[in-house]
Amino acid sequence: MNIKKIWVLCSFAGLVLQSCDQLDLSPTDSIDATKAFRNLEDVNMGVLGAYAPMASTLIEVSAIVSDETMLPTENTVSNTAAHRWIYDSSAGSVTSAFYEYYVTIDRANLVLEAIPNIPTNASTQNLMDQYKGELLALRAYCHFELLRAYASSYEPDGMGVPYMKKHEAIYPARPTVQSNFDDINADLKAAKELIPDGFSDNIRITKTAVAAIQARVALYEKKWDDAITCASEVIDEEPLAPKNDFGKIWTDESESEVVWKLARVAGDSRIGAAFFRETGGIVLYAPAFKLIDAYGSTTQRTDDVRFSSYIKHDPARGAGGTKSAYLVNKYATGIVPNAPGLTSVKLFRTGEMYLIRAEATLEKDNGTAGITAANKDLSDLRMARLYNYVHVPVSDKQSLLNAIYNERFKELAFEGHRFFDLKRRNLPVERRAEDAINTSGALKLESTAAQYCFPIPAAEMKVNKNMDQNPHYGDQ
């Protein structure tokens, strides 16, 4: 064999004998699952990743479908189906939240599943417990938000929402509302035990925030004792804001009484854009006259720190007749310069806790003691909000309940409660004629109407054969 042959055969052999390792080429542009959560820092990033998609969608939708807002003539640019109660299962405005919360839930589950594989020691256990607690509470909160929006009713036998306890792609059916409450409570209970006392970052879920969530859940579940206990816990920990600070809460200059809020920085989505469009300067939804009038006479409005914080009156703007003189002011300015409408999203405040406790106390005991205690909470709250306030006790249970509801209307305007508060008591949504001038007759939404519950998204119904739609959708 001459040199040539050897050369040919060697090169041939060299090419054949390639190593099989050549096929083990890992992804380079993304982090694969084995490297996603290696240590405590990664877990923290994962927790932040779970908070990241939390949006203000339900707050906005609740404002638009309830009697808090009205559709001004100048808004020719929005899809107004939600406001006019003509939405169906393919209306993104009322169905997108269904997807959003499950994103957070899934991310929380992914991190929760990774945590047991990460070694901890005595010095890091505390932090790891905190992360785990936050994730459990976040998971519970998201399911509760889904329940508020999409449950067929809040009664124990109502159709709830699938409760996802792990990361998986399945096609689940709807459990009962009671089952949802049980899961939510279990997660919150576990969370509360895990989150350390000293942790006080209010853009994340602290122990106090868990108590606040528990209080709200208990109110919906009509567990009055729990509601009172948990609301008290929050009230003790986080007192009401002084009158001078109240307005600063909404511009993010004060953290007073803010138990939990979603952080918003430059570049994030702007909650204020739901009410006012910068391009063209259009008021999309204005405060309803029903709400404005709830704050009473001009003097009373001046005395109420909430009025000017929530509602802006611009008579010059309204002079032409086609533009709204009233604007939602609650989310108009934040601390980021040149970013109108960008403010953090306040999810829990102490003010709500007073109202929860008042309502729960009254429901638990409609005797004198209960009425007195409820009156006190209502009075304390009003004292913190109104100058020159003198409380006149209400002794009749129903009247007091109405007063509490009316106070919720004012105190929690545009914070995502009104629609669900009505739904809690099966009350219709009623608009005044002057608030319904552009709604093609959407004056009253009865609790028997399909739209009284938000629909399960059409896309979900299409792929998930186990899913049941809320009542009356598809009837027409």
Binding site: Q22, G46, D106
Partner: protein, 1147 residues
């Protein structure tokens, strides 16, 4: 060019020098140029190794064996080629021989002894010659001819490209048309010398060419051009791993030859193939020069996977979609492999078909220099819609004002019919009249401002030649093309160098393609926004002009009031204020070697790379209006690099053996493929206008930080394969192949990594049967069938792995999130395909040829993106990649060609090919039978993929002008509700019937040829109508139909609804996009070389021609260009009409 001519003159003077490598025949001293080209090749090979040429030895032991089979054995042992007509084989007598290790030249007399014909030898070609009572003659390998005498006629035989035909047989016919027995063969340069009398005729024949008879006239020297017999050329099916004779191949494969590829003035190879291969649909993606087409073979086979075929050039897989730097002049053949038996050789990459490209190789003989050049220009084709002119527009504005009170322009604002008019002063009214008059006279045709007649130029020079051991082909080309849109175009420079060496049992080849291209694109093609140049052409008002009387340009009305909307001017601003360029460097390098260890046993190895580096640049001039709207208000500059590197290495062993009537061939291969990709880009703002198009102009500041991005990935494929063929008695063939592919993690989960792909085929060469052998009416009849499984690559990498990204923040802090939803059971997408077909030729010259195939193809495990339950956490629109779908494609394809007129001075042939494909979705997934496919289409079981979905248009109500829609129950309503009214429309974006018609007529030296291509049974979404026939965008210019064909009063049977009724997407937007196009029309004149008077052979051949591309299009499509692969037509870059004139000379 002059330099070359001078050197060729030297050559003509026959100042030859001895080549250092020994006798290199006609290769002469002009090689200085050539040497530079191939210098690097000499580094690789030791040429001195070829000094000792071993003799070709023959071993034979045959008993009464058919002459043909003995010839085949000699052919295999020696590498000599035999040119023997079938008729002669029929007359041949069986052979009995016992020869050990004897030189071939000694064996030939023994072999031909007693046969009723003689033979000639030229080089390594043995041609059989009719005996006619004369003895056989033998010529040696040097260029001499037989039977030379003093009154000889000198001539040359060339093919249509002017390339010399070596070993062609020239027979002198006497006055009665009978052979005089005087025979000659051509030498290495195609020349021959023969003695004949004036008035005699010469019959010239050559394998795979039509035989031609010429009269001996006065012209000296005589050049005889032979025409290729395509059917014979296609006799070998080239798959990249095997070369089987057509009669012994079960594959459905089509071949396109150089003459149909070279000289076409289109800069992308895939586009050139349109209408030429039955079953292959080629639809351009844009009229931008150099843009690739969408190529689909036998119906679209995948929804989310790859649908483009695999391209293999000289054995090296190359990227589809990057043909900008590949010069079509260098291409010899393109073989399109369509059925499983051929595709399965490519296993997991083959399911969409394989396009095997073979480039030109050097041929033995003296150096051949070919120069071709063409010049031309391209123009805009007219769309079928027309925009309003100034007069019409002003009238339209007035009508809209009258009907609705809406003020959409000066036509109403200044109109005397406007109620406000009467309230104005007389001076105002007079001025209004003057303004309207002057606006009417502006009447700008915006196409003149955005489009141009693009210039085109191509130059190509090639040198080829070689001796017995080394053959080389080298070519340089230059291509300059302006687009029809201003500021667009393509420049290309390419170099091709192919060298083959054969040294006894060792053969090797090195193929190199180096290319550089430089493309200029238009900004935001297909965009609908104001300022997208391609949309602005139509949005612009006809009474707008971008420049004022003093020549100043105004992109907006900020500093000067205008009556128009400045939408055209914004487009002009973008056209000149931005640039979008891509430079591409591409190298395709392949090296192959083969060594014959022993008789019939050969090892081969091949290695190659396909390397591409694209650098993209987007510049927005800080001085332009669009530049002032960038972040930082001073333009932007971005640059990016994309590098793709493919490496392939294939090694194998092939053994073939013939025992009596049994012929075996088996091969085993090992192959490794690797792909590496990396990309990087940045974009910066705040440019200093003194440094145009330069990164140093960028300001880096906290307010507008430059953005950075990048990516890198790699994948690999390892394969073992076995291929076998068995042929019995040249009649029956069975083939089988198996390929075991292992893919890297980017494609499939490790558990599904290895998979085997197989095929079986059977072929029957019926012509070899006794009952057909003697039949002159049917010269070819072959039948074939095959079945096999292939797969297609996964569209995106690593989709089966749970992946995370840090691309998210909360409260300004970096966070991590999952980036995909995962299907851990992801598997390959398989395609099972069955094919039957036949080849049939009729009449003894094969005047009519028919090739037909029927196939049934089923894609299983098809990739689909399924929307999961919201609870999976994918968010709205999130999807899980599944491999659960099933889709069928079945169809027939045929090509029919015929020579209608065949005589010496006039030839006319016509060919038609077509394919009908039927696609059907057979399964979606466990949870659903339908999925939305974009906004306007649906994937639904029972319907073809690509079916449009939307509400049915019910016309315009003649009573009140309302737009009417069908509800699902068939009732008609004027309320539009897409959700409730949408139905699958019987319209589909993928054509069912495609094909081409080619015809060529030759009269003496003039040839007229034409190619038509057609696409039928296809619909597309015309989204342009939505923008130019809508009340929503009425302030922009609208189509003439908005003026003339809309509902105006009760009783109008109008096409368009009342002016104030919103326009919605309905079935009327899905329009028939079938078309037939005169793709190419060419008139060629072959100049008789004697005209040049340079003596006998300064030019071997010279051709001049004129041709036109896309001259005519027949269609009812209302958009810009029916030929576009997008699902919608929307302000795309239309294909141009092109006219060129060129020359092609061979020295």
């Amino acid at each position: 060019m002059i330099l070359i001519m001078r050197t060729d003159n030297d050559a003509y003077a026959r100042k030859r020098i001895q080549h250092p490598l020994g006798n290199v025949g006609g290769v002469s001293l002009k090689t200085i140029f050539l040497m530079k080209l191939i210098l690097f090749l000499t580094v690789v090979f030791s040429f001195s190794a070829f000094a000792d040429v071993s003799a070709q030895k023959v071993n034979l032991r045959v008993q009464h064996t058919s002459f043909k089979s003995v010839v085949q054995q000699v052919q295999r042992q020696t590498g000599y080629s035999f040119i023997i007509k079938d008729q002669l084989f029929k007359q041949a007598k069986p052979v009995t021989l016992d020869i050990q290790n004897r030189d071939v030249l000694d064996v030939l007399p023994l072999l031909f002894e007693g046969q009723p014909f003689g033979y000639t030898v030229n080089g390594k070609i043995v041609s059989a010659t009719a005996l006619m009572g004369k003895t056989s003659s033998v010529t040696d390998t040097r260029p001499t001819a037989v039977l030379v005498d003093q009154q000889s006629i000198q001539g040359r035989v060339v093919n249509e490209h002017g390339e010399p035909l070596i070993g062609a047989t020239i027979t002198v016919l006497d006055g009665n048309g009978k052979s005089s027995g005087i025979i000659a063969t051509t030498a290495n340069d195609g020349t021959f010398t023969i003695n004949a009398n004036s008035g005699d005729k010469l019959m010239v024949s050559y394998i795979a060419y039509f035989t031609q008879t010429v009269s001996v006239g006065q012209e000296r020297p005589l050049t005889i051009v032979l025409k290729e017999d395509d059917n014979l050329i296609e006799q070998v099916v080239v798959t990249g791993y095997t070369d089987y004779l057509r009669g012994k191949s079960a594959s459905a494969a089509s071949q396109v030859n150089a003459k149909d590829i070279n000289g076409v003035p289109m800069s992308s190879l895939d586009q050139i193939l349109q209408g030429k291969v039955p079953g292959m649909s080629v639809v351009s993606s844009s009229g931008q020069p150099g843009q690739s087409a969408s190529v689909v073979i036998r119906g679209i086979g995948s929804v989310n996977g790859t649908t483009t075929p695999l391209y293999v050039m000289d054995g090296i897989p190359i990227e589809g979609g990057y043909f900008q730097t590949i010069n079509q002049e260098d291409i010899e053949t393109v073989n399109v492999l369509k059925d499983a038996s051929a595709k399965a050789l490519y296993g997991s990459r083959g399911s969409n078909g394989v396009i095997v490209i073979t480039t030109k190789k050097g041929k033995k003989g003296r150096l051949s220099v070919n120069y071709s050049s063409q010049y031309g220009f391209s123009t805009l084709t007219q769309p079928t819609f027309e925009m309003m002119d100034a007069r019409e527009r002003l009238r339209f504005e007035e009508e809209v004002g009258l009907e609705t009170g809406r003020d959409i322009g000066p036509g109403w604002r200044l109109s005397p019919k406007n109620p406000d008019y009467a309230t104005q002063s007389t001076a105002w009214q007079q001025n209004a009249g003057h303004v309207l008059d002057s606006l009417r006279n502006v009447n700008t045709d915006w196409r003149d401002l955005f489009f141009q007649n693009g210039r085109f130029m191509e130059q190509q020079l090639s040198l080829s030649g070689g001796n017995d051991n080394v053959q080389t082909y080298n070519a340089l080309s230059l291509w300059n093309e302006d687009g029809i849109v201003k500021e667009t175009g393509l420049n290309r420079y390419s170099l091709r160098s192919n060298t083959n060496i054969n040294y006894g049992k060792f053969t090797a080849g090195i193929n190199l393609n180096l290319g550089y291209s430089d493309s200029k694109f238009t900004y935001n093609e297909g965009g609908t926004g104001v300022g997208s140049p391609m949309a602005s052409v139509y949005y612009a008002l006809p009474y707008e002009y971008p420049y004022t009387a003093d020549g100043a340009f105004h992109a907006t009305d900020e500093d000067m009031p205008f009556y128009d909307t400045r939408e055209g001017s914004r487009g002009i601003d973008v056209l000149y204020g931005t640039s979008d360029k891509t430079e591409q460097f591409k190298t395709i390098l392949g090296l192959n070697m083969a060594y014959e260890i022993m008789d019939g046993l050969k090892v081969t190895t091949r290695a190659g790379i396909d390397f591409r580096n694209s650098s993209d640049q987007v510049f927005i001039n800080p001085l332009s209006y669009i530049g002032q709207n960038q972040s930082g208000k001073k333009g932007s500059f971005g640059e990016g690099y994309r590098r793709n590197f493919n490496l392939v290495s294939t090694s194998g062993i092939t053994y073939n053996k013939t025992i009596e009537k049994h012929e075996f061939e088996v091969s085993g291969f090992f192959e490794y493929l690797q792909n590496n990709y990396r990309a990087f880009s940045y974009r910066g703002y705040g440019l200093d206008d003194r440094l145009p198009e330069n990164p140093n102009a960028i300001t880096v500041s906290g307010d507008f930080l430059p953005s950075l991005s990048g990516s890198r990935s790699s994948s690999a494929l390892m394969s073992y394969m076995g291929i076998g063929r068995y042929t019995y008695n040249n009649k029956y063939t069975a083939t089988a192949s198996y390929r075991y592919d292992g893919a890297s993690l980017s494609s499939v989960p490790t558990k599904n990594r290895w998979h085997g792909f197989y095929s079986f085929g059977a072929a029957w060469d019926a012509k070899q049967e006794d009952f057909l052998k003697e039949n002159d009416f049917i010269p070819v009849l072959r039948l074939r069938a095959s079945y096999g499984q292939t797969a297609s690559p996964i569209g995106s990498a690593f989709v089966h792995l749970p992946l995370f990204t840090v691309g998210t923040t909360y409260g300004g802090q970096q966070a991590i999130r999952p980036s995909n939803l995962v299907n851990p059971d992801y598997d390959w997408e398989y395609v099972n395909e069955f094919n039957v077909g036949f080849d049939l030729s009729l009449f003894n010259t094969q005047r009519i040829k028919l090739v037909a195939d029927w196939y049934n193809k089923e894609t299983i495990n098809m990739f689909l993106d399924q929307t999961p339950s919201a609870t999976a956490g994918g968010g709205s629109g999130g999807t899980i990649p599944l491999s659960t779908g099933k889709m069928g494609n079945k169809g027939i394809e045929f090509s029919l060609s015929g020579d209608i007129i065949q005589n010496e001075d006039f030839n006319w042939n016509i060919g038609i090919n077509g394919a009908y494909n039927q696609n059907k979705i057979l399964r979606v997934s466990d949870v659903t039978d339908e999925l939305p496919d974009g906004d306007t289409r649906i994937i639904k079981v029972g319907l073809p993929y690509g079916t449009y979905y939307g509400p049915q248009w019910a016309g315009v109500d003649p009573e009140n002008g309302d737009a009417l829609y069908y509800n699902r129950d068939g009732s008609i309503t004027n309320v539009y509700n897409s959700e409730e009214q949408s139905v699958p429309l019987s319209s589909n974006m993928y054509p069912k019937f495609t094909g081409g018609i080619s015809t060529s007529a030759r009269w003496k030296d003039l040839t007229l040829s034409a190619l038509f291509s057609f696409v039928s049974d296809v619909q597309r979404w015309n989204n342009i109508d939505f923008y130019i026939e809508t009340e929503r965008y009425m302030t922009s210019n609208q189509s003439k139909r908005m003026l003339y064909d809309r509902w105006k009063k009760p009783g109008d049977e109008a096409i368009l609804q009342r002016i104030d009724i919103p326009r919605n997407y309905t079935s009327k937007d899905i329009q028939d996009a079938s078309f037939m196009r005169l793709r190419n029309l060419q008139l060629n004149y072959s100049i008789p070389t004697a005209w040049f008077g340079f003596g006998k052979s300064f030019f071997k051949t010279a051709n001049i021609y004129v041709q036109g591309q896309n001259l005519l299009t027949w269609t009812t499509w209302r958009g810009l260009d029916p030929e576009n692969n997008r699902q919608y037509g929307r302000f795309e870059y239309p294909n141009a009409r092109k006219y060129t004139a060129g020359i092609n000379v061979n020295f």
